[in-house]
Symmetry: C2
Subunit: 347 residues, 2 copies
């Protein structure tokens, strides 16, 4: 670790104390405060010298002369890395068990976002799983009435897609049966990526183009399968950012909140998170490190959860840089575990 190179035990302790104090108060912290707060029994003057060093090394900064110091991104980074190393130690803290087993995944995730927001006092987001690598499990066409056919498609993880297809002339029962057979035998077990236009074309041939209708139906089916952009993102506690003065001036607030509303930016965050494979699946972006430019004054903590079949979703917490990393990381790990458990039990 870098820390050992340039930071001795005492500097580390002082840095730790500075960050911790700043996390609580949000105000620049001065030498005298540390001198009293920490159990180092050093005078403020000594602390001042050390702080001077720490600043030179880039771990803390002074907003202006004659103000206390606040942690820099580098300082936070060190702090977080230290926390991450402490592995999952004990997770025995009680988080309200608001997570009843809701059987709709959507509801469950929404609730998860809310729980997390409540327990952390930051803004949170939860994404439904991405299913690009997902497998098709079941497909069926049925006549709703004379002019409409409904296509029902079930993917791994029991993700369901529907589409209503308008037809001019009713499909005969026989044809419908044949089509269903064909679709299921051909497509079953294939991943969405594998089902491309070429395959559909071949399917059409096999179906025999006696009827133009069938062609249309197949096209429509191809359509639905391809559209994999149905990742939903739920947010909660957006207004928590107003609790932190450094984020709640008009400018910042607007940026952050609009990032939350235009889910597109969050999508970016999700894909980034999913692409990086970490061992624990938890990532911390501090300040500029974040993939979402609108959040450059925040810290973002993300985690992935798994649904099986390679489907993964993301949880995220967005707050000020002086976030209570310890608590957040703990909550994240717990929620991650709970979701994993619930989904795997279900399957």
């Amino acid at each position: 670790m870098v820390s050992e190179h340039e930071l001795n035990e005492r500097k580390l302790t002082i840095l730790h104390a500075i960050i911790k104090t700043y996390l609580e108060t949000g105000e620049p912290v001065g030498s005298r405060t540390i001198s009293k707060y920490s159990d180092l029994n050093l005078s403020s003057a000594t602390i001042r010298n050390e702080m001077s060093d720490l600043e030179e090394l880039g771990y803390i900064v002074q907003p202006h002369t004659s103000a206390g110091r606040i942690p820099s991104d580098k300082g936070y980074r060190l702090y977080v890395d230290m926390l991450m190393e402490k592995k999952e130690q004990e997770l025995n803290e009680k988080q309200e068990q608001m997570l009843e087993k809701a059987d709709k995944m959507e509801k469950l995730l929404k609730q998860a976002a809310k729980v997390l927001a409540n327990s952390t006092n930051y803004a949170t987001m939860v994404s439904t799983p991405m299913n690009s690598a997902n497998k098709l499990k079941f497909i069926q066409l049925s006549m709703v009435d004379e002019e409409q056919v409904i296509a029902v498609i079930v993917l791994g993880g029991n993700v369901i897609k529907n589409k209503i297809i308008n037809v001019e002339e009713p499909l005969s029962n026989e044809n419908l049966l044949k089509l269903n057979m064909l679709l299921n035998t051909t497509l079953n077990g294939m991943s969405i990526e594998e089902i491309n236009l070429g395959l559909i074309a071949r399917l059409k041939e096999q179906a025999g183009i006696h009827s133009e209708v069938i062609g249309n139906v197949l096209d429509a089916v191809a359509d639905v399968i391809q559209i994999d952009e149905d990742m939903q993102i739920y947010t909660s506690g957006t207004t928590n950012i107003f609790k932190y003065p450094e984020l709640s001036d008009k400018q910042s607030a607007q940026e952050i909140i609009s990032a939350f509303e235009e889910k597109q930016q969050l999508t970016e965050l999700v894909t980034q998170t999913l692409s990086k494979e970490e061992n624990t699946g938890i990532q911390v972006y501090i300040g500029d490190e974040t993939p979402v430019q609108n959040m450059k004054d925040c810290s973002v903590v993300t985690a992935t959860y798994e649904l099986g079949d390679g489907m993964k979703g993301t949880i995220g917490i967005i707050g000020p840089k002086r976030m209570d990393y310890e608590h957040v990381l703990k909550s994240m790990k717990r929620l991650q575990g709970e979701l994993d458990e619930i989904f795997h039990k279900k399957e």
Copy 2:
């Protein structure tokens, strides 16, 4: 109308001028401004006298002595009522035709919210239709695999519901067929309200309880049908409120934005709107009139659109009290018309 009783032509003109000016500037407007702005050719002193009267009558208020006047809720109300009376005159103004025909209703509505937010610079919301009075059109059970049955239910307006039901032992094809027959013949064309527990119980009897499985499946089906809380609300342009200083202090912003995030409050707004049957379907809530307490410093304009089969959805615009009512009402009417058209063409 009230106006004729206590307001003569001139007072009306002056009030109108005050409101209009205030809508633009957001600053209290003084007598001299009106004297110059309006074509009344009156001195500021005269205007002052009239304003004094108007204040006494409650149409305008003074934030503090030696400030100009701003419209009171009562003043806005009069103004809006006047606008509403002007019926739909001409709607020939060009609104960007961003409303491509998206075939997923959800997408369409999301887009609608966005378009509206862009064109008005206020915050907007759009609700998907409520289907409590909706009719069941089609229902079908199918085996996904040995342990899972999927129930697909199509309601009027092509609203689709799904549910995956876990079963211990596979249903025979024969049983499945029988069940489907039974469900369709019994439930088809009935409204959700009519399908109550009693009916389901009778169904169970008819199905014959050879198999416990069938009972469970029917229960699950009943479940899905009953749950009518799947009204979605999409919002857009929330951060537009930051454009209006009177709404963007921490306190107000937080209240409003959290109302937008906790969709529950918007739900309240929707149900209120739907319950009141106005001729045009457009309603304006000014300040305290709003059903959502968090928005008491705003004005809210709502409209309903129809999907046929008695299904109705809601559009809403939320902005400062000094909202450009004229423009908003126009936009509303247009969007309302467009949605109506699109959905009825589709059907």
